[in-house]
Structures are given as C-alpha cells and as structure tokens.
C-alpha cells in the first residue's frame, strides 16, 4: 500500500438529518476529510442496494449510508428499512469478496456535526488501511451484470 493512496468514498445522506449535519460541520468550520462525495436522497430508506453495488463497481473504496437516528426518521421508519437492506447487502458483499467494512451505515442527526466529522475521518482512515478495492472490480462488474439480467 503506497502512502499516496487516497480512498474514494461515496456517501448517501438523507435530506433531513445527515445532510444537515454535513452542512453544520461546514458552518462550524470543522475540518472533514476531502475524500467524501455526498449524494443527497430524501431518506436513507431510498438507498437502493444497487446504488451501492454500482458505486463499488465504479471504483468507490467505501460507501457510507447515513440517516436519522432510529425513531427520528422524517418518514418514520425509512432508516429501519435501510438497516435491513444494508445488513443483507453486507452479507452479499462478503460473498463477492468485498470486505463488508467498506459499507457503513450510520445515524447522524442534524445537530451532530462532530459525529459527521468523526465518522467520515474514521472511515477514510480504515479504508487507507484496507487499501484500494481495485483488483476485484471486474469480478464485481461481471456479477452485477448477471444480477441486473
């Protein structure tokens, strides 16, 4: 693993809590790792496992899905659905030879800018240690194609 390796992380945040937490981190001028790219969805329950598979297939080293705390979802239970899907998906990732730690599900409320910083920093550090996902890419793509079919 070379010291220049910088993991690329895609993060899905719900509009109501985690996206706002990232906003607050910025407003409070907290420093976050520059490796994170956020895709905003309305609720963590919107995150379709295929988005995550696609992210890995496209070369993401890690994916974070982040929503409101259990019980706080703007749509009541979207985050519980996300939880179920992500648990299942992590099993599948393992089958595909992708370390399940590369997919993280977190609850970050709108006021938890600090937690946002901690989670993103920690993710990047862990991924640095894990190294790039690259070698398995073709394999994933092949399976993806089969799944899509």
């Amino acid at each position: 693993m070379s010291s220049e390796y910088e993991p690329k992380v895609l993060m899905f945040t719900c509009n109501w809590c985690s996206y706002a937490a990232a906003d607050l981190a910025g407003t409070s001028r907290m420093k976050t790792p520059h490796n994170i790219r956020i895709v905003r969805v309305m609720c963590s329950g919107r995150v379709d496992p295929q988005f995550i598979m696609e992210a890995f297939a496209q070369g993401a080293d890690g994916v974070i899905v982040s929503g409101c705390h259990p019980g706080d979802c703007h749509y009541m239970e979207g985050n519980y659905k996300a939880l179920r899907r992500m648990l299942l998906l992590r099993k599948l990732l393992e089958q595909l030879g992708i370390e399940p730690e590369r997919l993280r599900l977190e609850w970050i409320s709108a006021s938890e800018a600090r937690k946002f910083v901690e989670i993103t920093t920690d993710t990047v550090e862990k991924l640095r240690k894990l190294g790039p996902l690259k070698p398995r890419l073709d394999y994933v793509r092949k399976i993806m194609e089969e799944v899509v079919k």
């Binding site: 520059h34 790219r37 956020i38 749509y75």
Partner: protein, 648 residues
C-alpha cells in the same frame, strides 16, 4: 439521457470569498464547460444576487438551456431562490440541480487543490444527474382552512388569536387542564411587572368568545397523517370528569380526602386531588388530578349541582387541519436533590417558588417570608440548568436576568433592609431591560461574577455560599438566610413531539426551526410551524411575537386558498413495468399506495397527495416500476457513475 440535445448551463458562485477563497472557481467553470452537454459555464461573485440570477435567466432564454446546475451554498439556503429563477425564465424548475460547494467543500477544507478537485467531482455528478432529470408538474392539493395550535401558553395563545381574528377555524389544545401555560406561574413579567395570570386572561377571554375557536384541555396529539393543507390529526382527551355545571362553590374540595403538593404554587403548599388550579383559570371549573384521585366518590356526594361524573372515559377526536402550530413551550429546570443545596432545606428555593412567594395571592399572601421569618441575606444564583448545574442545556434562558433584577427590586420594596447578592456568570439584561440592572445596582444589590460555579453548603440552620469573584479574583463566603436558584428553560417533552410530528431537535434538545434566521417559526415540514420556547428559550414578549409570526406564516399558506401546490417529488408507478407484487404497499409508511386494475392486470398506484416522497418504495421495487420523482434510479445511478468520472 433524456434528450440527445441536452443543453446545460453551469453556474459557480464565489460567495464573496467564502467559496472562491478556497476553491478555484475559474478552474471549476473551465472544467464544467469541457463536459459534453454543457453549453455554458460561468462563475460570479454572488450567484444568488439579482445580477447572478439574471445571468442564469438570460442564458436560459438566449441559449435555450434545458438544464441548470448551480454550485453554491447548501440547497437548504438557496435551492428555492434558484428554482424560482429557473421557473421565471420559463424552464421547468425540476430540471435544476444544486451543488453544495460551500458548507460541504470550501468551509470544511483548507487545501486549495483538493477542495477544487472535490468541487469538480460534485459538479460533474450534478451534471450527470441533470442529464437524466425530467420536467415535473406540481401536485394540486385541496386545502382545509383550519389550524391546530398545540399548546396554550403565550405563544400558542398569540398564534391562535392571530389566526382566529383572520377568520380561520382554530383548534387550540393543551395537555394541562387549564389554558395559559407556564406564564400563569409567574408573578412578575419583567420589565412590566404584570402577574402572569392577569397577562393571559384578556387573551384567553377574547379567544374563547370567538365562534371559530375550539378549545380542548387535557388533550394531546397522538398521531398525524397527511401533509400540508390537509393533515389528519388524532387527539386523545383525558376525561375532565367535571361538567360545565360547576359553579366553583368548592364543596368538593373540602370533601376530598387526598392531598398532594400544589404545582401551581411551586409545591410550597398542598392541594386536594380535586382542585381549582387558580382563580382566573379557564375553563372556569374544578379539575381532578387523575394520578392522585382514588375515585372514592366523596366529591360526588358533596357537589350540589351534580357536575361530577367519575365514570367518564377518555375520548378520541379526529381533526382535519390545513396547518399545525406547535407551541408546547418549555419545562423549567428542576435541580437535583443536593444540587446547590436544593432539597436539603426549605431555604434553598427555585426562582419559580420565589415567584409564588412574591405573589399577593400566593401561599404567604405576598409577604416575603420563609418558615415564618423574613430572610435578611438573600443569595441569587443565576443560570442553574442553563449554563451551570448537573444537566445544562448550554442555552441562555433569556428571561432570567431581567427577572432576577426585577425580583430583587420587588423584595427590596417589601423588606428594604435585605442584603441581596446576585451570583452570575453573565448578566444579559438586553434592550429596555438594561434599566432594571442599573436600578438594582443603585438600590444596593451586590453583583458577584463567577467563572467557577458557586458552592452551597447547608449546615443545620445555616447556609454558606462560597464563590470566587472573577473580577477581583478573591474567594468570598456569604452566610445566607435564603438561596434562590434561577432555573433555566429545558425542552418540554420535545422527544415525544418530535416523534409524532417527525421533526428534529437541536443539540440542546429543543425543536429545530427550519432556519434560525431565514425561516424562523417554520419547521422543515411544510405546513407545520413552531412558536415560542419550544424552539428554544424565549421571554414572554418574544414568545408572543413568535406566535404571531408562526400564525402569519400559516395564514399566508391557507387564507383564501382552495388548493395549494405541492412539490412533485413523490413516487410514481410505471404501470407497464409493474408486476403487481405489491411489495411497495407494505413498505409505505403513509398508506399512499393502493391497488388498481389495468384491464385484468393488477398494478400498484400512488396517491400523490398522501405520498411524502421518502422513496423507500422505489428502493424496494424488484422490477424497477416504482420511481421516485427527482430521485429516480437512473438519476442517482448517473450521479454514482459520474463519481468515478464517467459522464454519459
């Protein structure tokens, strides 16, 4: 791609130096213009300014743009601004996407190169999404011209009055048996020094006389469905047991054998299980404390007009309202036993108990005595539970400083030779209330500034207060006859309210406003407004203003309207693709999906008025038939692909 001929305009905002100071905006614009489909990419000092917006509008018209990307601040701030600009230029506003390169980029990074790279990635991802966006039309929703106000403190009353005067139907509910809220426990509303109960009385009197107002006490919201313009609210009303026949004769109270501390008198005195909270109370009748009452029935026998019926059960009421104003107020901080000596002696009291001791109609008839004696040396400790103490909210409670100074003046007017010390961290008698501070100083009140919270020691009859004066940096010991803890405001049952109304909370636990400065009195949920101390500590005057503000926002939404337009970012079924498995039906938390038949075929169908737009059905649909407008699979997938650099 939605169209072979995509024509996208990309606009990068400098936000003064907020963005341009870190992100190389020129580079981002140059990069954007190299992406296929982008016909123009510009950067400008303030994209949200009139000139900036006109830039976009002109391009839309002159260059026939059919997609717009603005990279600027958080969409929470200016998405609406740009959407409107796009719309005014004649382009469907749902062909617009906003990129956050301020909060999520320039403000959180320091490395110019890396921040610029990130901005480029985010812009590329947005362009990819815009290529897949489709024009959408807003959904027309019928409007119910009535409003529910939850909570009847000054904020709720002010909101309800504003709405009712404008002619809307108003339901005002309170979980307590009487209207008026917290203020009814105060004797001094500083700086005017009016009794709380007298302050709310004219408001309540006017309100309850109006034919378009309905009051429910002992009532709480238990569930909410629907959305802006048409909420379906279920309310549980606990029985009051006593009918309007009550003449306030008081025989029942005499007959009642149960005694409990009287919360309306700061628990300084006892009351019966059947009681009148205070003489100005509305509704004007006795109430029964369910938790204390043993249903022995003695009161029934005592009542000369047969107003009491203990067999009454709780009831459920379903309301249909166009908007909701949440004004549930706050709870005063209750110090732990032993915290600053509280609970160890009757001579360490809270500011609320002090209020009752100063009230002519309080337990001492307004004589300022404790345990039968006039306290000579009185120490006030401010900010307990807000800035100091075992559990703090870290939020200044705003009303205390002026109340403290007012109270000391009141005490001095009753007992001129009292020695009064105010131990404070900060004194914030702002605005007109500054005068009270000077008056207290002139009248010999000693202000002691601390950094480390003071210590209170109770030794038998004596109370010793130890504090380090921060300006002279010396330890001081004050032997006190009475210690008054000025308690701060804590959130009132906010967790429950947040759960029921699906709102969020601030770090201090209060209910979050949509935006402190730009959207006060609003919540992020359309049609639900927020008033008073529920949104964070406020003084009485501020709560009255906030209530009126929430009401006027509700009025702007509902008054003289038959329908409103709702965001079309809802779920939609592609009936061709739908296999009728109905997995989505079970997924939907709002019962917005039902079954319909296309010829013989069973398919799912979404009611766009009930759909709240979470998109979880779309994530679950195995055949890709359920789509989430504005967040369709292909739109998000395009974003994900562009993350790695691929833009199709």
């Amino acid at each position: 791609m939605r169209d072979k001929d995509v024509r996208i305009g990309v606009y990068i905002c400098h936000c003064g130096t907020n963005i341009a100071g870190i992100v190389d905006v020129e580079e981002v614009a140059r990069y954007a213009s190299s992406i296929p489909g982008v016909v123009v990419a510009r950067h400008y000092t303030f994209m949200c300014s009139e000139t900036g917006q006109n830039m976009i509008k002109d391009d839309i018209k002159n260059l026939k743009l059919n997609g717009v990307v603005v990279a600027a601040c958080s969409p929470a701030l200016h998405e609406v601004t740009f959407k409107n600009a796009v719309k005014e230029a004649g382009l469907n506003p749902y062909l617009f996407e906003m990129v956050n390169i301020r909060e999520h980029c320039s403000w959180t990074h320091t490395d110019r190169r890396l921040a610029t790279e990130k901005a480029k990635d985010l812009v590329r991802m947005a362009i990819a999404k815009v290529k897949e966006l489709e024009p959408l039309e807003e959904v027309k929703a019928e409007v119910v011209n009535s409003v529910l106000v939850v909570g009847s403190g000054v904020a709720g009353l002010s909101a309800a009055l504003t709405l009712a005067r404008a002619g809307l139907t108003v339901y005002i509910i309170d979980k307590r048996p009487v209207l008026g809220g917290f203020v009814t426990r105060l004797v001094n509303i500083a700086p005017i020094g009016i009794r709380g109960r007298e302050f709310v009385k004219p408001m309540i009197d006017e309100l309850v006389e109006m034919p378009n107002v309905k009051v429910l006490t002992n009532a709480e919201v238990i569930s909410v469905e629907g959305g802006v313009g048409n909420f379906k609210v279920r309310i549980r009303q606990r029985p009051t047991y006593i009918s309007d026949l009550c003449t306030l004769c008081g025989y029942c109270e005499k007959a009642c054998p149960i005694e409990v501390p009287n919360e309306y008198e700061g628990k300084l005195t006892m009351r019966k299980a059947i009681y009148l909270p205070f003489k100005e109370a509305y509704p004007p009748k006795y109430v029964i404390d369910e938790n204390a009452c043993t249903k022995c029935g003695k009161c029934i026998d005592a009542c000369p007009v047969k107003a009491i019926d203990l067999s009454v059960k709780e009831r459920y009421i379903d309301l249909n309202v166009g908007a909701i104003i949440i004004a549930v107020g706050h709870e005063p901080y209750e110090p732990d036993k032993g915290e600053f000596g509280y609970g160890l002696t009757r001579r360490v009291i809270t500011s609320l108990q002090l209020e009752r001791l100063l009230d002519e109609e309080g337990p001492t008839g307004g004589r300022f005595i404790i345990d039968g004696k006039v306290p000579k040396t009185i120490v006030f400790i401010s900010c307990v539970g807000s800035l100091i103490g075992n559990k703090t909210t870290n939020a200044c409670s705003r009303r205390c400083c002026s109340t403290i100074t007012y109270d000391t003046l009141k005490i001095l007017s009753k007992n001129p030779d009292s020695h009064i010390y105010i131990l404070y961290r900060d004194i914030r008698t702002y605005g007109f209330e500054e005068e009270l501070y000077w008056k207290a100083l002139e009248n010999g009140v000693v202000f002691v500034k601390f950094e480390e919270p003071p210590k209170v020691e109770v030794m038998g009859d004596k109370i010793m207060v130890y504090v380090r004066e921060a300006t002279i940096n010396k330890n001081i010991v004050i032997p006190a006859d009475l210690v008054v803890l000025f308690v701060g405001m804590t959130p009132s049952n906010a967790g429950e309210i947040v759960r029921i109304f699906k709102l969020s909370r601030t770090a201090d636990g209060f209910i979050r406003e949509a935006h402190l400065k730009l959207r006060p009195a609003e919540t992020p949920t359309e049609g639900i407004f927020l008033a008073g101390a529920a949104a964070g500590p406020k003084g009485v005057m501020e709560s009255v203003i906030h209530g009126a503000a929430a009401a006027s926002k509700a009025l702007a939404l509902l008054l003289n309207k038959k329908y409103i337009l709702r965001e079309p970012l809802v779920a939609k079924v592609d009936e061709e693709l739908c296999s009728g498995c109905l997995i989505c039906v079970g997924m939907c938390p709002f019962n917005a999906i039902s079954v319909k038949y296309v010829g013989e075929r069973r398919v799912a169908t979404v009611n766009p008025l009930l759909c709240m737009g979470c998109g979880t059905c779309a994530a679950a649909c195995p055949s890709g038939a359920m789509e989430h407008n504005g967040f369709k699979d292909k739109q998000i997938l395009a974003q994900v692909r562009a993350f790695a650099g691929v833009v199709v």
